[in-house]
């Protein structure tokens, strides 16, 4: 029931997203017909192209046409590539997903790992070290980090490819670039959340019962400490995607984040609309998924 309601609630959100994107791409300066035609073309050619694209019609009418297409799963044709938008989006999405999941995995493992450690070893050099790591991870520009990784691990050491797509070896450096950013935030949040939970009575009780430290830490404390961390993971997806733009560009990774940015620069309206809509869907789906995860880690959370 709950999920059905959440799905229904998502529909107006999606429609609002499409409307905002639809109107805003038409408000920024830049004429797709001129971009397609090139600087050499005469105004007459540009007018003809604009009519071909249907851009000479009122914006609201264009929007209605777009919605009608959307209803039957047709996102239109890319101005620039001349191919169906849905095809471009689906072709480029898996690479981004691959990168995002690998980055997320690194974020979670590294972030939670050092978060727990620094909570347990509070106030030691280890704790202070992770603070530095966390701040560095969040504040290092991905662009710079990516280039440093390339210089060290590809050019100097020759261990991994400097860019491209294909094997797991190509995935390592971009995933680390993306993952270190998330790891810093997660580490800090896990630490503070853990410290709070470790002070709770039930943790002291569990320890007093003579349970092994390991069991107290992971079964009793960590599980509860993760609730805010999981919330943040869902919300961080947006930040992840914006970092993915830079990561995909530097590593020549053929993902949807870069596709969307080049579509904006080329004023490829259908492609912008299609990919933003797709990313909005992914964002909503991810946050729904986070809700499911809550229920798993904290059985007290139930949705009426």
């Amino acid at each position: 029931m709950y999920f059905a309601r959440r799905l229904l609630e998502a529909i107006p959100v999606i429609i609002a997203v499409t409307f905002i994107v639809f109107v805003s791409v038409r408000l920024i300066p830049g004429d797709p017909a001129r971009v397609i035609a090139g600087l050499e073309a005469t105004d007459a050619t540009v007018e003809a192209i604009r009519a071909d694209l249907g851009l000479d019609r009122p914006v609201l009418l264009q929007y209605v046409v777009f919605l009608r297409g959307l209803a039957v799963g047709d996102l239109g044709t890319s101005y620039y590539y001349g191919t169906p938008v849905i095809e471009e989006v689906l072709r480029r999405f898996p690479a981004t997903m691959e990168l995002a999941l690998a980055g997320l995995a690194i974020s979670i493992v590294v972030g939670i790992g050092i978060g727990v450690l620094s909570a347990v070893k509070r106030g030691t050099w280890w704790d202070r070290g992770t603070l530095v790591f966390a701040i560095a991870g969040v504040s290092m520009p991905s662009f710079w980090l990516a280039l440093m990784l390339i210089i060290v691990f590809a050019v100097d050491l020759g261990w991994l490819p400097a860019g491209g797509y294909g094997t797991w070896r190509h995935l390592v450096l971009p995933a680390v670039t993306l993952g270190l950013f998330g790891a810093g935030t997660i580490a800090r949040l896990t630490r503070s959340s853990m410290l709070e939970v470790l002070r709770q009575d039930y943790v002291r009780t569990a320890a007093a019962k003579g349970l092994p430290f390991r069991s107290v830490l992971f079964k009793h404390a960590l599980r509860n400490a993760l609730v805010p961390v999981v919330t943040m993971l869902g919300l961080q997806l947006g930040a992840f995607l914006s970092r993915a733009v830079v990561t995909e560009t530097v590593f020549g990774w053929p993902g949807i984040a870069r596709l969307t940015v080049t579509a904006v620069l080329d004023r490829d309206f259908p492609l912008i609309q299609g990919s933003v809509l797709w990313l909005a869907l992914v964002f909503i789906a991810a946050n729904l998924f986070v809700d499911v995860v809550y229920a798993v880690i904290d059985p007290r959370i139930r949705y009426a």
């Binding site: 001129r34 600087l39 050619t45 590539y81 072709r91 280039l147 590809a154 491209g164 797509y165 053929p254």
Partner: protein
Amino acid sequence: MKTFIALIAALSLSVGLAQGGTLRILLSSQLTTLEPQDTTDTDSAAVRFQIYNGLVRMTEDGNVVGDLAESWEVSSDGTAYTFTLHDGVKFHDGTALDAAAVVTSFERLLEEDRNTSSTAYFQPIVTGVEVVSDLQVRFHLNEPFAPFLNTLAHAAGHIMSPAGIEQFGETYGQNPVGSGPYRFVEWVRGERLVLERFDDYFAGTPPMERIEYRIVPEASTRVALLETGEADVILRVSPDEANRLRGMSGVELMNTPTARAMFLAINLTRAPFDDVRVRQAINHAVNVRAITDALFGEDVPQLDSPLAPNVFGYVPTLRYDFDPDRALELLADAGFEPGDIAIDLWSPNGRYVQDATVAQAIAQDLDTFGFDVNLRLFGDFSEYIQVAFVEDRGDMMLLGWSPSTLEAEGGLYQVLHGDRANQFANNSGYDNPDVNRLIEEARSETTEEGRLAKYGEAQAIIMNDAPWLFLYPQPVITAHASNVSGVVILPSEHLVVRDTVKD
């Protein structure tokens, strides 16, 4: 059995690698389509030079030579061009490339309701194309048009397979069928494009087994991939990176002057820039030589014409040396002090080689001279062209102009002829009847000397009128592994690897 197959696969893979028959090229921007008649981006066109042939083609030095055409004749009135094709040319789908195929290809381009960037080169001048014999084809023009051969050499003139057009229709751009040395194999959009040797190529066996293009937008990553040996040829190396690569073993750099003239259009529709003395003063107030020396090295010249030196019709006329005293005199003549004049100077950022850096240096020179300069940089080129050409022009706007046909008609008409004043692409609003007339007359001059005389006269007037702040021809830097030879960058900035060999 499975193990056996895997073993064979591994063996064949290692053999493939050992032969080293793959040329790996890194491009910087997304490929759009491989259909010749509808391409605006340089890289897609560059890929097509391997897949297709035109009737004629451009060489590295900007000359037009035969490609599919063995020879050609021009009628005495200059309105009919008859081409004789090489015998036995085949498309990649096995069909014959004969006169009928050429006609089919061009008739498609000339269809009235086709509105692509490329139709504009042919529709206004070509009235018909006909089959004369199996291997002879004739083009009819509505009037003598001396730059016609250059126009034919444009990438839009590549001949498409009629059977391929029939088979693929709308998706031809993703399934190109040409007659060139390498045939299309695979295109994974956004990632890579693969070509393979075409064994039946009419002009001899192509040197490489495979050509693989990859898209890597970030310049530093392209350099890293070349350094690690993961790429053989990389495009658009920045001057900084080039300095780092220089002297590195195993890497060679090519610095190619292109046909793209870089300039700042001065807005003649606004006072005081409607005064020629003010515009000349601006030209004397900027030390272009110092800027190019610092950024690109001494090989890159300062423009002494609105055309780059490797464009046909280029005649050096006048160069504005850095001379602030002369600039002050000119301004005083016009009744101004530098401090009286405010300049809105606009430039794209990231469109041309070092564009923003150049604009900043120029703004600094103008500021030092005493003008009140307001510099605005645009990271988004689509926005820039809308603003700088249509909505709200500044006083000076940076632009690079490369005539696609590599001759003076393309280099002068669209940016400096009165027909195009105050619209694309003549946004200085320059309209001098003498220049207009000379550009028009040059079209029907049938001799090279006659054309050069007209163009030379036009260039002298333009330089004196100074509708632009004249800068330099844009240089492009390409790098490749030392074991690769025969890499060609055309003056049109296209990378051609038809004859490239890798040891």
